[in-house]
Amino acid sequence: MVNYLVKRIFNFLIMVVLASTLGYVLASLAFDPSSNYLGANPPIPQSTIDAKLNNLGVNPADPLIGRYFIWARNVVSGDFGLTIGEQRVNEELSRRIWVSLRLLIIGSILGSVIGVALGVVSAVRQYGVTDRTASVVSFSLLSTPVFLLAILLKFGAISFNNRIGTTFFFTIGEYSSDFSGSSWELLLNRLQHLILPTLSIALGGIAFYSRYQRNAMLDVLGSDFLRTARAKGLSRRKSLFRHGLRVAILPMATFFAYSFGLLVTGAPFTETIFAWNGMGSWFIVAVQSNDVNSVSAVIAFSAVLVLLSGLLADIAVAALDPRVRLR
């Protein structure tokens, strides 16, 4: 087990380095940071532009490999450099990272727990009302892109607010900036802001997990060991949970890693549509303004997230499944 862990963590580190390198190199090749200074009136002299680009470390005149190593050395010592607006990337990162993490963590936990529960119920009561409704709804959700889902949720919430005559769902920002009240009321206010973005992330997850969990559970339901468990006198409920679910939930751990990538893809849309200042909306602004350092920081962040979820999934599988542990 220890060997296995060490190997996995080593692999994790290599992949993080690789992915962030890929991100930096692609961004450096595709972006033209000097376009931010062109077309100004009066025109900025070339020497000033060069000085600014040199200061950011993104001057295309310098060889890419040299820029990369300077960037990499700084990142290893914990400094992601400057944004195109000459702010510290680290500062921006620390301000935004929790906004996104809160969204992604709550969204993925809600999505996986509700999805798995729904999948189990659908499988146990196959072709029942719950199963049929869940199938139709999850198929439609899986065919709806995140941005469309978020927009529809937003519209639904606005018309709901109009109908009840007061703002129940907030559709812009993380909290009301002019809000004053006790800490409880502040928490409530934050929750009212949180609900829609989290839902737009979680609904896709629920649809995704419930489909896979249903199929995995159906596989297990027809298996011999479950019949044996019932034959030796276990109640239906006990056999389902102790023997059935434990096996059927294993593949979900692998899907968890995969679906986290989907969530990371969804965050830019959700954050933009609900005007959250997270990593995702930063990424979009950074791509639009040819900001190499910021984009590389976001890419490194998502690489760490995706790989970490993969690592956790592997450890979870090893912990749950004796067949993996023994290897």
Partner: protein, 301 residues
């Protein structure tokens, strides 16, 4: 007497008639959802490519006398803020999204077949390096990579966008193809070909890939839906199909600003998008059930 003779006659005849293709077609046609999906996809194509021929206005034509008008006889889906005909725009966007979806699905599945086929057949170093590449590319969501590379095709043809989407969308299918080829590698017909001195690339293309054709067809179909989802997402943010051209994604992006008061700006593009992707996934699932009725849907690998 004559009756029983006919029964005896008809048995071998009906056996002969039921080729594998016919069997699959029959299984597919029995699946009501899949047939409905196929009909919807077909009608989307008709709407996208034949519809504009009957409309009064072209997608890049502006009617300055009708700004923000609701659906009417002249403008079937209404008009936009600057007088663009929403029907023409929606069909144009649907065309782009469908073509991009199809092209990317074909390219990426082809790439996946080659990479997965060779990795699975050759094993050893080839396999390890392909798998390593797949793992490395899967770390970063392809959305992020393509968005970062979007300045490269700004102001150029949308075909560059297609190539990028395909280049970063083949990995999952390649894994599936690889494990399927690995299970075929030791079969007798492959051995026989090897002993006759058939070179590796011929074995992969002539003997292995045709045997995983069902996987390729199913995945190509499902990839159409996945591609439409990512293409519209990128276009929504302005990283995909570039203006003045439109895709369903950029139409939805333009429509959302005032969609609550003028729902036709957004409604048609949005429902066309959801319907198309839903229908494609029904067709894909129907194909999977038809090719391999014993399989459980979750068994992707």
């Amino acid at each position: 007497m004559s009756n029983s003779a006919r029964v005896i006659d008809s048995r071998p005849a009906s056996n002969e008639r039921l080729t594998r293709g016919a069997l699959i077609r029959r299984r597919f046609l029995r699946n009501r959802l899949a047939v409905a999906g196929l009909i919807i996809v077909a009608s989307m194509f008709v709407l996208a490519f034949v519809g504009p021929l009957f409309a009064k206005y072209k997608w890049n034509e502006l009617d300055f006398l009708a700004l923000l008008q609701p659906p009417s006889r002249d403008h079937w889906f209404g008009t936009s803020q600057i007088g663009g005909d929403v029907f023409a725009l929606t069909t144009r966007g649907l065309q782009k999204s469908l073509i991009i979806g199809l092209l990317v699905a074909v390219f990426s599945t082809g790439l996946a077949a080659i990479a997965g086929g060779f990795a699975g057949y050759m094993g050893g170093k080839v396999d390890r390096s392909v798998m390593w590449l797949i793992d490395a590319l899967l770390v970063l969501p392809s959305f992020l990579i393509v968005a970062v590379m979007s300045p490269l095709y700004r102001g150029r043809t949308w075909l560059v966008f297609v190539v990028l989407l395909a280049a970063f969308g083949w990995m999952v299918t390649a894994r599936i193809v690889r494990s399927a080829t690995m299970s075929l590698r030791e079969r007798d017909f492959v051995r026989a070909a090897q002993y006759m001195g058939v070179p590796a690339h011929k074995i992969v293309f002539r003997h292995l890939l045709p045997n995983v054709a069902s996987i390729l067809i199913i995945d190509a179909t499902l990839n159409v839906g996945a591609t439409i989802l990512s293409e519209t997402g990128l276009s929504y943010l302005g990283f995909g199909v570039q203006p003045p051209d439109v895709s369903l994604g950029s139409l939805i992006a333009e429509g959302t600003a005032s969609a609550l008061t003028y729902p036709w700006l957004f409604l048609f593009a949005g429902s066309a998008l959801i319907l198309t992707v839903l229908a494609v996934s029904f067709v894909g699932d129907g194909l999977r059930d038809a090719f391999d009725p014993g399989s459980v849907k979750s068994k992707n690998e």
